[in-house]
Amino acid sequence: MSTRRINGILLEKMIENGLAFLQQHEGEVNRLNVFPVPDGDTGTNMALTLGNGTRYAKSSEDCGAYLRSLSDGMLLGARGNSGVILSQFFKGFAVEMTRSPLIGPGELRNGLIRGYRTAYEAVVHPVEGTILSVTREGIEHIRTQITRNSSIESILSMYIAEMRKTLSYTPEMLSVLKEAGVVDSGAYGFILIVEGMLKCLYGEVIIPKEQNAHPQSGLVDLSLFNENSEFTDGYCTEFILQRLNHSRYQQEFSKNDFISELRFFGNSIAVVVDGMRVKVHIHTLYPSKVIAFAQQYGEFLTFKMENMQVQHNEHDRDLNQKKEHKPLAIISVVNGEGMKELFQNFGCDIVIDGGTTMNTSSAEFLEAIEQLDAEEIVILPNNPNIILAANQAVELSKRKNITVIESKSVAQGYFAMAMDIPDSDDAKFRVSQMQSGIDNIATVSQTVASRNYSFHEISCRKGDEIALLDGEIVSVGSDFAKTIADTLSVVPDIDDKETCVIFRGKDVPADREEALYELLSARYPLMDFEFIDGGQEIYHWIVGLA
C-alpha cells in the first residue's frame, strides 16, 4: 500500500491514531524522568496538549484548515515544556500547510522542516538532546531522499527511523539523561505520535483512551437556564450514526445531499464519513428533526446534546464576574493549601492550583488573564516547566501589558511577591521590584527518592532522603535535615545569604521544623529563618535562600 496524497480527513484520523498510540504509552513516557522524583509528566502533558488540539479541531477535507484549528487548540492547551514545544511544532506545520488542501511528499517534507524550526524559535535557550534535536535530525537526514514519487508511508518510516537513531543518542547529547540512564522523554513521546500516524496508514487503528472532558470546563451551572431564560442558541448536537443494511433504512447515502438536508435544521455543520459510519456535528434549535432525519439511514452509536444557552449564559456570567479594575494584577501558580493561602494573602488576584506536577496550560493562563481587568498583569509560573506555557498565553492574549516573571520555584515566587509594593501607584516600579525578587534566590527542595538512581557521584536507592539544589540532586542520606543542610553548604554564595524561608510540605509533621531549625541555625547562626506551612505535595521541604 502506498499513499501519495492525504487529505484533511485522513490526516485527522492519522493524528487521532497518533494521540491514541501516545496515550497507550503515556506512563512509559512519564517514567523517563531524569530525577527520581515522581513528578514525571511529559507523556501526560504531550497527550493533553495534542488531545486539546483534536478536541478543538474542526474536521475538514482541507489539510490546511484542519491543521490550523488543530494547532490553535494545541497552542491553547499546551502543558509543560514538552507540550509547548509540541504545539509549536504543529503550529509551524500548520503554517506551512496554509494553502495545501492535500499533503504530498513535498508538502510533508516542508511541513516537518517548518515544524522543527518553529519549535526551535519558540525556545529561548534550545537544548540539544531533546525533542528539538530529534525533530530536526529526523527530517534533515532524509530530506534529500524525498522525491515526488515517495509515498507518505515511506517518508514517515524513514523519518521515524532517523528520529529513533537520534533518540538513542540523546543521552550523549545531554549528560543528565546519560547519568540517569534514560532517553529524552519528550523526544520519545513525539516519535510515538508519528508512529501512531503511520500505523493509521497501515490500517492499524488504536482504540483511543476514554478522554476526560477538558479539566477546566468543569460542571455546567444549570441554574443559569431557568423559567425566565430566552432560548436562542439551540443545542450543540453531536452523534455517530451507524448506517445499517436492513431494508428498513435508506441505503442510498450521499454526503453532500446529507449535508444540504441538514442545513435546513441548523448551522455549524460538520460531517465526516468513515465507511458506514457518519460523524455529525450540528447546532440546532430542533434536535428532534435532526434525529428523525438521521434515523432514516441508521441508528446512533453515540449521541451528545448540550444546551448552548447555558454555556452562553455561563460565559456572560464569567465575563460579568471580571475582577475589579486594578492598576496591577498578579497571577501565580502554586500547589498546596498553605501556598494558596500565602499567595492570596500576598495579594495575588488569581492563584492557579497547579496540581502536583504544576503543569498549568496556556489555556489556563489565558483564562486567568481574561478574568482580569488590570492595566498591568504579572504572571509568576513558579516552575521552570510552565514558563513557556505562560509566555505562549501572553502571546495568544495579544495584550501588551503582561510580564511573565520567570520564577522557577515557589520560593522565588515568594520573594517576588514579598518585594511588591502594593501601596505604590507606579506599576512599572512594582514590576521591577518583583522582578528583582527572584534574583539570586537559591531553591533547595527535599523529598524521598521514588526509585533507584545514579548521576555523577550521586546515587540513591528508592526511599532515601534526597535534596536538590535548583533542580539537581546534591545530597542523599537517611536524615532529611542533614540532606538539606548539606545541600545548603554547596550553595555558591551561602555566606552572603541572609534569609532562609522554609515551606513545609503536606503531611510533614510540624514538629520536624524544630529539628531542621536546630541543625540549620547551628550551621548558619547569622541567618534569619522563617517557616511556612506550604502544604505542597511531592516535596517535603522547599527552602528559599536570599
Binding site: F415, A418, D426, A546
Partner: protein
C-alpha cells in the same frame, strides 16, 4: 535661659538619661501587659529585658495594648507647672496614631479656665518614637541657646516635617494590625528577608517607599538616602531606633559615623508605649534634613533610584 517647660508623652522614647540631660518632662501613658493589667508606661528595661519583652510580644501580640495619658493626667501635669507660673510647650505623639493630642487639648482648655494667665502651647509632632524624641532634643537645645517660648514653639511647627526616618520595619504585622501605617497589607508580617524602607509622611504616619532584599542591600540604599536628604550632618545628633534589632543597629551606627561624621550617633530603645504598636522589626535612623515633600514623591523617586542601583 528660658524657663519654660518642654513636655512630651512616652511616645518620644527618650531614655531617662536624655530626659534629664535635655530637661524634657515626660508624662506617663498606659500599658496593658499580660498578667499585669493596666500599668504606667516605663522607659527603662528593669523588670523585663528588651529581648524578653519583644519575644513575648511577638508570641501574643493581642495581649498587649497602650493608651495615652488621659485628660485628668494631662490636667494634673499642666497644673503642676502653671500653678508655679511656668509656661508649657507640650509636644504630643502623632495625632494620626494616638488620641494624646485630643486629650491634651481638652486638658489645656480646662486648665486655662482655671488659670487664665497660663501659657500652654500644644504641638502635634506628627512623629513617634525617636523621630519625635529627636525633635524634642532640638527644641531643648534652642531653649538652652536662649530662644523664647514663642520662638521654640514656632520652630517646632515650622520644622517638624524636616525630621526624617531612614530605616526599615521588617515586621509590619503590628502596624498593619493596629492600622498604624497607611494602606497596610495583612501579609506584611511574613516578609522574611525583605526590608521595607519607610519614611514619615505628611499624615503623621510612615509610608513604605520601597523594599530591599536583605540587610546589606538595605544599608546601601539607606546610606544613600540619608546622604541625599540630610543637612549639615556634622552638626547633628543622629538617633538610631531599634525595637529588637540591636546588632543591626550597631552596624548601621558604624556606617553612619564613618560616612557622615555627625556629632554623635545614639542607639535608642523603643519602649513599650511605641514598641507594642511597632513590633520587633524596627531599625531606623532619625535625623534632620530637607523638608519632606507633601506626597513623598521626591523621597520615593530617590528610594527607587537607590534600590535600582543596589541590584
Amino acid at each position: 535661659m528660658s524657663e519654660f517647660i518642654l513636655m512630651a508623652d512616652a511616645g518620644c522614647d527618650l531614655s531617662a538619661e536624655f530626659q534629664e540631660k535635655y530637661d524634657i518632662k515626660v508624662i506617663n501613658g498606659h500599658l496593658v501587659l499580660p498578667g499585669k493589667g493596666d500599668v504606667p508606661t516605663f522607659m527603662k528595661w528593669e523588670d523585663v529585658s528588651r529581648e524578653q519583652f519583644y519575644t513575648e510580644l511577638k508570641k501574643n501580640p493581642n495581649d498587649y495594648a497602650t493608651a495615652p495619658p488621659n485628660i485628668t493626667e494631662y490636667e494634673n501635669a499642666f497644673e503642676s507647672y502653671v500653678k508655679d507660673g511656668k509656661d508649657v510647650i507640650c509636644v504630643t505623639i502623632s495625632s494620626a496614631i494616638s488620641g494624646a493630642l485630643g486629650f491634651a487639648t481638652t486638658a489645656r482648655k480646662n486648665i486655662l479656665e482655671k488659670y487664665p494667665n497660663a501659657k500652654i502651647t500644644l504641638v502635634d509632632s506628627m512623629r513617634f518614637g525617636p523621630g519625635f524624641g529627636l525633635m524634642l532634643v532640638h527644641a531643648s537645645i534652642l531653649r538652652s541657646d536662649g530662644k523664647s517660648f514663642e520662638e521654640v514653639a514656632e520652630y517646632l511647627e515650622q520644622n517638624k516635617n524636616r525630621f526624617h526616618q531612614a530605616g526599615w520595619l521588617d515586621d509590619l504585622s503590628f502596624v498593619a494590625k493596629k492600622g498604624r501605617i497607611t494602606h497596610p497589607k495583612a501579609f506584611f508580617g511574613q516578609l522574611a528577608g525583605i526590608k521595607p524602607i519607610g519614611e514619615f509622611d505628611a499624615g503623621g504616619l510612615t509610608t513604605v517607599l520601597g523594599k530591599a532584599k536583605g540587610a546589606k542591600a538595605a544599608y546601601a540604599v539607606l546610606l544613600k538616602y540619608i546622604e541625599a536628604t540630610i543637612e549639615n550632618p556634622e552638626d547633628q545628633y543622629i538617633f538610631i531606633a531599634q525595637t529588637s534589632r540591636f546588632p543591626q543597629a550597631e552596624q548601621y551606627k558604624k556606617m553612619i559615623e564613618e560616612k557622615f561624621h555627625p556629632k554623635a550617633v545614639y542607639i535608642n530603645d523603643v519602649f513599650p508605649f511605641c514598641g507594642i504598636n511597632i513590633g520587633p522589626g524596627l531599625m531606623a535612623a532619625y535625623y534632620m534634613g530637607k523638608p519632606i515633600s507633601e506626597d513623598l514623591s521626591e523621597e520615593r523617586a530617590l528610594i527607587e533610584k537607590f534600590i535600582a542601583e543596589a541590584k
